[in-house]
């Protein structure tokens, strides 16, 4: 459960949500704007704390972790991909990818080696020295995916990774995420785009902070379409 205190009123971003996500699955989270998709993802990634309730990932209780343990969890277990990429503008693609490994205390030789490898995997071997501004949106997002992989996380969380991309670069990014799933990782993707669901092994539908069935979700979507 995640509540936001807004002045006198309380926003229930997520309420009464009870989910189990199996390891090694590719789960797509769908829902209208404001339904709590991002909130869910941030809670699962340890970037935010639930107001109440339990979150456990692979047996570890996130709600019981202190700040430091949560940071270590984010470092070792989770790889994040954001809609707006969140690359550091002053750093090259290589430096952006290598950046998180500093906090893990990896030597600079190893960092560069690993970052080069990962950029190769996302098809950007020839763009290592480019700044984010010198890359297309799709390329930036691939750099961000490479960065999410540096500490070899078992869980990949992507919040509308294709939201800022055109269809073909979006498809390439989706394909990359699917490859990650196939290599044994658990992938959770928030998206508005129904075409992305073809990679999914599981789907979650959110409405007003609650998880609903596909049929319930579809009829609600139909209703809102009729209203507008």
């Amino acid at each position: 459960m995640k509540h936001y205190q807004m002045g006198g009123s309380i926003v229930r971003a997520l309420d009464g949500l009870d989910l189990d996500i199996d390891a090694h699955t590719f789960t797509v989270v769908m829902g209208p704007s404001g339904s709590g998709k991002s909130t869910l993802l941030y809670l699962l990634g340890g970037l935010d704390r639930a107001t109440a309730g339990e979150i456990s990932i692979d047996g570890a209780r996130l709600d019981e972790m202190d700040e430091n343990a949560l940071a270590l969890f984010r470092r070792r277990t989770v790889g994040f991909v954001f809609q707006s990429f969140n690359l550091i503008p002053s750093m090259s693609a290589l430096e952006n990818v290598a950046f998180p490994m500093q906090f893990a205390g990896i030597t600079s030789v190893q960092r560069n080696h690993q970052a080069r490898n990962l950029l190769g995997q996302v098809g950007l071997s020839d763009r290592t020295d480019h700044r984010p501004t010198e890359l297309s949106g799709g390329q930036q997002q691939r750099v961000a995916i490479a960065r999410a992989l540096v500490n070899n996380p078992s869980l990949i969380l992507a919040d509308e990774p294709t939201g800022n991309l055109d269809t073909s670069s979006g498809a390439a990014v989706m394909q990359l995420l699917s490859d990650l799933h196939n290599s044994g990782r658990t992938v959770l993707v928030v998206t508005h785009d129904p075409r992305m669901t073809r990679f999914a092994t599981h789907k979650i539908y959110l409405l007003d902070g609650r998880s609903v069935s596909e049929t319930e979700y579809q009829s609600a979507a139909l209703e809102s379409a009729q209203v507008s």
Partner: protein, 444 residues
């Protein structure tokens, strides 16, 4: 995070915002250079004052003589050995016997203990047709260097048949047969020359008995503006035998003690302590240091005042650093969110931003130290010309420094400005470190 990675990241981040970092650091440059210049000036003034005081003697030396206790019970009586004291006569409270000298040597920090003895009888010196009068001192040492004396010509070694003379001794010669109106002769060059010493005493009938010695000058001492300038130095045993001859009795230093010893101390700062200890042992101790101490205290206070003025400028700079860091953290909120998302701990974030603030302090401090030092050198060049002119008009030696920067000062200033930077960055850095990652990431 590895320390080296941290430093690299910090300076990388600072170099991303060169203009702003430079502008902020200028405040630190001004503050640090002010501290360096002003404190250097205070130290330079102190050195000058000490140089003027130099004539009062070597500051690492303590002159020790036997203390005479007052009669009529005014002072605690210190009894040494047995023996009946002659009431009404001042008695030495403690004699400078060889065993007492060993006690002095045993005091920690004492480098050497050197007995000295004055020639107790009249002496006339002659060189060719010139005559003069001087003080004659015997020193229990084969080298006057042990008293901190330096030769300007020849050496400082003492030996049989030779003497070392003070810088002004040649100026003390005159021609007894000079006619009025005649130019006095110039001071003679005495190094390597034989000079005659005529020592005299009177027998019971009042007849003068003379003794003639011819000795070669093997060294002329550098000017100290103290006693040594007017003194001829002999080995101690020669003075002892001359004193015995003049008094007509044997002198036993073990029983009677020496009349004076010089205690040389390793470190100027220990002089007062050791001097106190010697007084407590029952001797009289004199050191020019006690006089110098008061003057030095004044200059230490001056250093603090001057340093404080510079520190105020640094304080203003500190506000600038705090402001720059607060702005920087606002601008980089999303970057902070990202750092946390990829696994930076609160401590990592704190270290990075504290490090950046300290880095600005360090860069500014480095600039300030360099500028402060250069400015000090510039002031020296200008001031010394002026002061030398003044000294030339008023007589007396010109000062050798106006502004003096000891090596600890720039080091201290650099560390201080770095710490100031770090303290200024503390609040912004703490805010950065404790940001909730999700809010930082959403920040626009």
């Amino acid at each position: 995070m590895k320390p080296l990675d941290l430093v690299r990241l910090i300076f990388g981040n600072l170099s991303r915002r060169k203009a702003r970092v430079a502008l902020t650091a200028i405040g630190v440059v001004i503050g640090t250079s002010a501290v360096v210049i002003l404190v250097s000036l205070a130290i330079g003034l102190q050195r000058n004052a000490n140089e003027q005081l130099y004539g009062i003697g070597d500051l690492t030396q303590i002159q020790v003589s036997p203390a005479y206790e007052m009669t009529e019970g005014m002072v605690v009586s210190v009894s040494v050995g047995g023996g009946v004291k002659d009431p009404g006569q001042p008695q030495p409270a403690r004699l400078l016997t060889n065993s007492a000298l060993d006690e002095l040597r045993a005091i920690p920090g004492v480098e050497s203990v050197i007995p000295r003895e004055y020639l107790m009888t009249g002496v006339l010196i002659k060189y060719q047709k010139l005559e003069g009068g001087v003080g004659v001192i015997g020193v229990e040492s084969d080298d006057l260097a042990s008293l901190g004396l330096e030769a300007i010509e020849g050496g400082t070694e003492l030996g049989r048949g030779v003497v070392v003379i003070g810088a002004m001794v040649p100026n003390n010669f005159y021609d007894p047969r000079i006619r009025p109106g005649q130019e006095p002769p110039p001071p003679p060059q005495l190094l390597g020359q034989q000079i005659q010493f005529i020592v005299s005493k009177y027998d019971e009938q009042g007849n003068e008995i003379r003794k003639n010695l011819s000795l070669r000058v093997t060294g002329v001492l550098k000017e100290t503006r103290g006693e040594s300038d007017w003194t001829v130095y002999f080995p101690l045993d020669q003075i002892k035998s001359l004193n015995e001859w003049s008094q007509g009795r044997r002198v036993n230093y073990n029983k009677e003690g020496y009349s004076q010893v010089v205690v040389k101390v390793q470190d100027v700062n220990q002089v007062l302590d050791i001097s106190d200890q010697i007084t407590q042992m029952g001797f009289q101790a004199f050191t020019p240091q006690s006089f110098v101490q008061g003057i030095n205290n004044f200059y230490v206070i001056l250093q603090f005042i001057f340093g404080g003025v510079g520190a105020i400028a640094l304080l203003v700079a500190a506000i600038g650093i705090a402001n720059t860091m607060a702005m920087s953290i606002l601008e980089r909120t999303r970057e902070i969110g990202l750092m946390k998302a990829v696994g930076a701990t609160n401590r990592d974030v704190l270290a990075i931003f504290l490090g950046e603030a300290a880095g600005i302090g360090f860069i500014g401090g480095l600039g300030g130290v360099i500028i402060g030092w250069l400015a000090g050198q510039g002031i020296n060049v200008i001031a010394l010309v002026y002061l030398a002119n003044q000294a030339g008009q008023q007589g007396g030696p010109p000062p050798s420094v106006a502004v003096y920067t000891p090596i600890w000062l720039p080091l201290f200033a650099l560390i201080f400005s770095t710490i100031i930077g770090m303290i200024s960055g503390l609040y912004p850095a703490l805010r950065a470190a404790t940001m909730i990652p999700v809010l930082a990431l959403k920040y626009e």
